[in-house]
Subunit: 397 residues, 2 copies
């Protein structure tokens, strides 16, 4: 097989999780997944479709009604300079599949790709699979464990030789959320260098601003993190990736989407044909139901996750030796513990000796070494506090 | 975007189908899909899983019980030299996804890949996406429209410079089915040249030998086309692709699998993570139900499809100017009509003027030019005869 594929690192999260395999006493916060089941109306829509016999191929780009609903949602959330029509939307077999399609459309072997890190490892692995040279530009941890972008360093790294810039914000694992000013500077720069931006915005709805809009207001129903779609022109070199997994509690359904310039869409359709051909129709029906429920369901989820975040971060900040910031976005606390530089060894010890399942920061690249990721998406904030108790025990030893 | 992707041909089947869009009077036989809905027990298994709340991530390689059931089925059908265990099985998000994973594992930009054609266009497109040089070796049409392999030409084309040989048998679109002797010669040759064989065997259960075993017998329950798995050692450079789509009437579910040497499997798991992460658990439960029903359901489907094949081929052979063979495998009649060299123009005219939807042979490469593909998987053989009537009308003009 290819040496390049053999050398790709396996998931260190999986490595830690395997150490806890078969143990029912582990409190697991390692995966990027809520412990809530997909809501009933969403599941019902899939069941109705299956019972009606919708078991045939879908168009490559997705059901026209789902593409229309996604376009309407994006235009409602973002008020882009020009409304985004269904012709710019592709339905994909997961967000990660949408990201892979974007790389296949843009990246030749030998091309240079810049990735903002630490980040979900898939984002750097995909261009590597296509033979690209991947340059990593790191976010920087500052006071209180807050990570931020060195914009000048990133602008210096992106040159006319850079084919694609990959940015994930709100960021997994750090919670870093890109500001409007940063987006504007990057977009203007990439217009000059001719670089494509692939923006992984799957956490856009999991956003917790300091002054949230009043519950039940129209602003609350539209709350999301700044997006490149707010400012980009229809023909900018920009592909934005969305997923149903996080905002709609649908990780197991493998449904995502992307928005690209219209001229790209016939080619995206071909790539979908050659990768997975289409998403199941009944899964797309579930996606339609999720979008229909979104105006109530997403603000309710945001409130629950904000409570989870505050419960966890307050408790962690009260521990000695722990440094952790209150993230503005996504669903992770990213923490470090004084005197614990080896995150994989620490994570394995926490599982083995204390039944606490966290993801090692090194899973997100060497830039995350010394840190731990804790997913706070949970039905029961009490579960998070039980986890903090176990960490406190571990630190006391 | 990449010029290579822009230049990939779009589906000519889709092009013809688009010409019939919105017309309810078209008899469509253009897609590789039965018109039968997935059987109730399979759909029920998915519904039960969704209702039970199985909406979370699955392991990358699939549910252990599905991997075990697939391994048991393969070992039962093929009696390989060494039984195939679950550790060699990966569950994938469709057969086409399994094929793409195999290419990503094996093919660098610049590598040489040999493909036996005419064939389903995805097989040649996938290595091209990865930057490979694709060499096409054509099956040859002979007397009565029977296509066969020029084994010497294929052996001459596969050299130590050939990284991968891709073979789809039973073949879409020609119905060509590989003989045991051809498999043995190819496997021995590829062992010498160090070439990987990627065998697309998704039609192995759609096989119609001249002397079928008696209905209800154990042989009937195990009937399938010759497979490389019958003869290959566990560590041979061989990846075999399967799909639930064709033998279990599950096209819309996007569920497939692959069997590879055990040493490859950790790397296949990584590639699944980076491409789609996993297949939905409830789709995998449907796959388990399909395997449980297979000993009765597959022979019954084989009988129905044999009747469809004979109904269609008998009627076509009775038409003047039509040349068509009775295929041993898959679910297509591949025909040509005297005086009609342009298959795309003919297919468009048949849709527009006669409401008959067939796939142009040129969709499967230049080697298929002048031919038409007719999918005979239908609940109602009468529907096939109604289609033949339309063709007869067209030929009479």
């Amino acid at each position: 097989m290819r040496a390049l594929i053999a050398d790709l690192p396996a998931s260190r999260i999986r490595e830690v999780a395997d150490a806890g395999l078969g143990r029912s006493d582990v409190l697991a916060f390692w995966f990027g997944e809520s412990d809530e089941i997909t809501p009933v109306p969403v599941r019902d829509a899939a069941v109705t479709s299956i019972e009606a016999g919708e078991t045939f191929y879908s168009p490559n780009l997705g059901l026209p009604e789902l593409r229309a609903a996604l376009a309407a949602q994006v235009s409602r959330l973002h008020a882009p300079p020009v409304p985004i029509g269904p012709e710019r939307v592709a339905v994909t077999s997961s967000g990660v599949s949408a990201l892979m399609l974007a790389q296949q459309a843009l990246v030749e072997a030998g091309d240079e790709v810049v990735v903002v890190v630490p980040v979900w490892p898939n984002l750097a692995a995909q261009p590597a699979i296509l033979g690209a040279r991947v340059r990593r530009v790191s976010l920087q941890p500052g006071a209180g464990g807050v990570w931020s972008l060195d914009l000048d360093a990133l602008l210096a790294a992106v040159t006319p030789a850079t084919r694609v810039l990959i940015v994930n914000a709100p960021n997994n694992p750090t919670g870093w959320t890109m500001s409007r000013a940063e987006q504007q500077a990057l977009l203007a720069h990439c217009r000059r260098t001719g670089t494509w931006i692939v923006a992984d915005e799957v956490y856009e709805r999991l956003h917790y601003p300091q002054d949230p809009p009043p519950a039940g207001s129209g602003e609350a129903a539209r709350l999301c993190a700044p997006s490149f779609l707010d400012i980009a022109a229809p023909d900018d070199r920009l592909i934005v990736i969305h997923s149903f997994s996080k905002s709609f509690l649908m990780t197991g359904w493998r449904l995502g989407s992307l928005i690209a310039p219209e001229a790209l869409m016939p080619h995206i359709a071909k790539l979908i044909e050659f990768n997975t051909s289409c998403a199941p129709v009944f899964v797309q029906r579930a996606g339609l139901a999720a979008l229909a429920a979104a105006p109530e369901a997403v603000p309710a989820l945001q409130s629950r996750l904000r409570l989870c975040r505050d419960t966890l971060v307050d408790a962690l900040q009260a521990l000695p030796r722990v440094e952790v910031a209150r993230p503005d976005g996504a669903m992770y606390a990213f923490l470090r513990i004084e005197g614990e530089p080896d995150s994989l060894a620490l994570a394995r010890r926490l599982v083995a000796e204390h039944g606490l399942g966290l993801a090692p920061g090194s899973a997100f690249g060497p830039e995350g070494e010394g840190w731990l990721r804790w997913c706070f998406a949970s039905r029961q904030p009490q579960r998070l506090l039980a986890g903090v108790d176990r960490l406190a025990q571990a630190l006391a030893l």
